[in-house]
């Protein structure tokens, strides 16, 4: 039986980040991946000949700058191309564009609302301050407020001091961001519907919540996180697709000595006397290790790979209660020509940014209403990018790939997902978009539709939740995934978790993987 210091389950970005840090600390590390390729949900695949897609996750916005720096990811091939704008076409033929250039942006907003154009800078300033307030929490193993251990008490004390240092005004603003709905929160700043809708859309991504559901305001912050670290325009597209993000991390891990084995599905975590001893592969091979780190989500890790018999009852109950409810789908199109938007015809700079189908808060809320009762949205929210405009190598010359992130497509679809339902859903998405870009249907050469059920089947994310569990307040921080087990440890000794199902959660951030490695290495 081969033996390692650590075996890491799964080759998603968090697993690879964790493996890289462990390997750099001199540990003998093996990463085992079920699929033939690494990357988890951050992969680039040539789905149709000549057309390469970031099949699942498709932009880079939250990847922690310290990881990019410390693992020297640019040296291993990471190149983030900035997205310049967000373009929201409207049904009445108008549009709203948000540009990176301050004055251009103000002028455009003023077309919709003078008040909004004025409030925009102040809003940005406020979010900047909030992002500063939250940032230290991202790199922290969340202290458990219910514990009386010295470490937790000190952690809580530090946390208290940090919040106290913000002052009442900012602490209250942070509380509001954590508890309010994005619609209510944005109502306090803006009046223009497309602006509020497009901003609030970032709050619903990956959740089964609508913009009027409390708890959705927090995610507004994430877009401002990157800028803080001086990584201006951190919101971007990885050259070569999101597979190149994980390839770069894998490169860094391998350069540090980590081994990666693909097509090596783990059947179970070997546990003896309450301690993890290694993993058993599907083909019967046993791999021994001093510790096992799982990058799989909590349900898969504990109920699937470990097994209830090795875990305390209340812990199992908590894992069962952990909510996934995947609600996001992807439609990937191979295009013979660029879409031509009726609201802003031609090949303008707006095509090089994100295109958001979010004309009003009500539109998004209605899309949610359907999902709430188990149907996919008949008029869904979409976040669209055309990577081939930024990186021509993604498609044959003159042709394009379009990535459409769609919500809502509930995992728990009434009657379940079938091939027919998947294609009908794909038609809905194309029909909706074609209302804004009439040439779309004729431009489509190939179409790939990825539902939450597909995400679960292919990538292994439970219920297809892209964050490895909903990012709702009761599943965040020291509650992620389970109170008292949020510091990457588990009730099984020598078994650790490093996936997005732990603090601070999903979004190709890599923070969970890094934090877990720091805990394993005894650094904090």
């Amino acid at each position: 039986m081969a033996s390692y210091d650590a075996v890491v389950i799964g080759a998603g970005h968090n697993s690879l980040v964790c493996a890289a840090y462990l390997a750099r600390a001199g540990r003998k590390v093996l990463v085992v991946e079920r699929r033939e390729r690494i990357g988890g949900a951050a992969v680039t695949e040539e789905v149709f000949p000549g057309f390469r897609f970031s099949v699942f996750s498709y932009v880079v916005s939250l990847l922690r700058p310290e990881i990019i720096r410390e693992l020297e990811l640019p040296r291993h091939g990471l190149h983030i191309l900035p997205l310049e704008s967000t373009f929201t076409p409207l049904p009445d033929g108008n549009y709203l564009a948000q540009w990176n250039d301050h004055d251009q942006n103000r002028r455009e907003l003023a077309r919709h609302s003078l008040r909004d154009a004025e409030a925009y800078d102040e809003f940005g300033l406020m979010l900047h301050q909030m992002a500063r307030a939250v940032k230290p929490l991202l790199a922290m193993a969340p202290p458990d407020p219910t514990s009386l251990s010295f470490g937790d008490l000190m952690g809580m004390k530090r946390l208290g001091e940090h919040f106290r240092g913000l002052g009442v005004k900012r602490f209250s603003m942070l509380t509001k961001l954590l508890t309010m709905s994005s619609a209510d929160f944005l109502d306090e700043w803006f009046e223009s519907e497309p602006l509020k809708a497009t901003k609030s859309a970032s709050g619903i991504i990956g959740t089964l919540l609508g913009p009027r559901s409390p708890g959705t305001a927090y995610v507004l912050l994430h877009h401002y996180m990157g800028e803080l670290d001086g990584v201006f325009r951190a919101w971007g597209f990885a050259k070569g697709g999101n597979g190149s993000v994980t390839a770069a991390i894998a490169g860094a891990a391998q350069a540090a000595g980590a081994e990666i084995r693909t097509a090596a599905p783990v059947a179970q975590v070997l546990v003896k006397h309450g301690r993890a001893r290694g993993v058993l592969l599907d083909d019967g091979e046993e791999i021994g290790a001093k510790l096992v780190v799982s990058g799989a989500d909590p349900r898969r890790t504990f109920l699937g790979l470990v097994g209830e018999q090795h875990l305390p009852g209340p812990f199992v109950d908590s894992i069962r209660r952990f909510r996934f409810r995947g609600s996001s789908a992807k439609v990937n199109l191979a295009l013979g020509e660029l879409p031509d938007f009726a609201a802003l015809p031609g090949r303008g700079p707006h095509l090089r940014g994100a295109v958001s189908i979010s004309p009003s808060v009500d539109y998004l809320e209605r899309a949610y209403d359907e999902a709430k009762y188990g149907e996919y949205s008949k008029r869904p929210y979409m976040d669209i990018v055309i990577p081939s405009l930024l990186d021509p190598q993604m498609a044959p010359p003159g042709k394009h790939v379009m990535s459409i992130f769609v919500q809502y497509a509930p995992y728990q679809l009434n009657g379940g997902w079938t091939d027919a339902r998947r294609e009908a859903f794909g038609d809905t998405v194309v029909d909706t978009l074609a209302q804004y870009a009439p040439n779309l249907k004729n431009a489509i050469l190939h179409r790939q539709v990825v539902t939450p059920a597909d995400i679960e089947r292919i990538v292994g994310l439970s219920e297809g939740n892209i964050f490895q569990g909903e990012l709702s307040l009761q599943q965040m921080f020291f509650l992620r995934p389970v109170p008292a087990w949020a510091k990457y440890r588990t009730p099984v000794s020598a078994l650790w978790q490093c996936g997005a199902g732990t603090h601070p959660g999903g979004g190709v951030m890599g923070a969970s993987g890094r934090n877990a490695a720091m805990q394993i290495l005894g650094r904090s």
Partner: protein, 452 residues
Amino acid sequence: MSRTIVIGGGADALVAAQVLARGGHEVMVIESRAASAEEGWTPAKVLRALELEPVELQWPEPWLSAPLPAGGRLELWRDVARSVESIRCVSPKDAERWPEFCERMAKLARFLESVYSEAPPDPLSPRFALRARRLGRRGLEDLLRILPMPVAELLDDWFENDVLKGLLGAAGVQHIMQGPRSAGTAFRFLHHHVGSPTGVFRPPRSNVIELLRRLPRVELQNTEVLHIAVRAGSVVGVVLKDGRELDADIVVSSIEPRRTLVELVEPGWLDPELVRALRYVRRRGVAARIRLQLDRSPGFSALALAPSLDYLERAYDDAKHGRVSREPYLEATCDAQHRMEVLVQYVPYKQKAVSLEGRVLGVLGEHWGEARPTHTEFLSPRELEEFEGWPEGQPHHAELSLDQALWMRPLPELARYRAPLPGLWLCGPAMHPGAGIAGASGFHCAHAILGR
């Protein structure tokens, strides 16, 4: 001796007036309408301080019932064991979990009671942390996990029966423009449990207002305040509707803060940022009220028509998009004299709800047997605003959501009862703990004035 004017006649105003009078202030209460009997519990501390007795808290018995699809009713009693028997008919599994659920929730409600017995906590103070720790590990976990939760998820964690979850879930959404799947409604569920015995999830009716009215020491004037007079940046009194001007060193308003600060105070005295923030305090009324007299007993003391969480959610969906619920959530309570009060939710403020009364009576008629109404009074949120003085028909003055609770109620700048104008203070339902906790905000406000 300070001359103090208290505006408004609810329990909060009267408690503030009494505490200030006992603290040596010369107090006058100006009320434009007599407050109707208030629902809600009053902290023991307040009752002791004012020697209010005998306080009677009343719940119907059973405190709630709901019709079952297969006929008969699910009935929930003060006696936990008796509720278990009733629940067993719909779900043995749920019946088994009921006592533990009641215990766990009661523990959290007791915690909230202790929080409500004081001015809003400083969430970052070690003192608050210590108090929360007294809940013990599981209690604290429950608290932190449940507060931001949707009530639907909380109930889904515990129960399987739709009728049971529907009538419990309704407590989480009463008087708020949210549905049971909205985060923070579990906190509201606990809030409505405050002051009630274990296993009772509806607030009591209380006679505190009557007791307060009987107390001496305070002069009551029945008129309306037109303006709060400010000179050189300080409050100097009030101007009444009849033109009289009354001098005062201190003015305490139990009227909703936006009205107090933006309408009663002349423009220009307040930070425009605060005025802006006040505009965004959410206070949307969502419920209509029907009062009726029946000619005989309807055969129930309290009946909820909210047959499932999805039913509540769909009722909310309509209101979310600006419509009156096609199938509203109804909750009726009836006293011994067959006087019935019905809560009808959701009815958005802007809707006239013309045909609603007939529809509701039609639905209720299926449940009250031979009884016939002899007199009915239907008030939409807009009418409740007019007759009860509730802004936009919202009895809590400021919606009780997590971002408008505790040290954020109704705004962080105002949560300590002191308005940013020397001499002006705030109490009432919009101030912590408010929202159906009778008298506590007046008590805390008066203590802040007295510097205690």
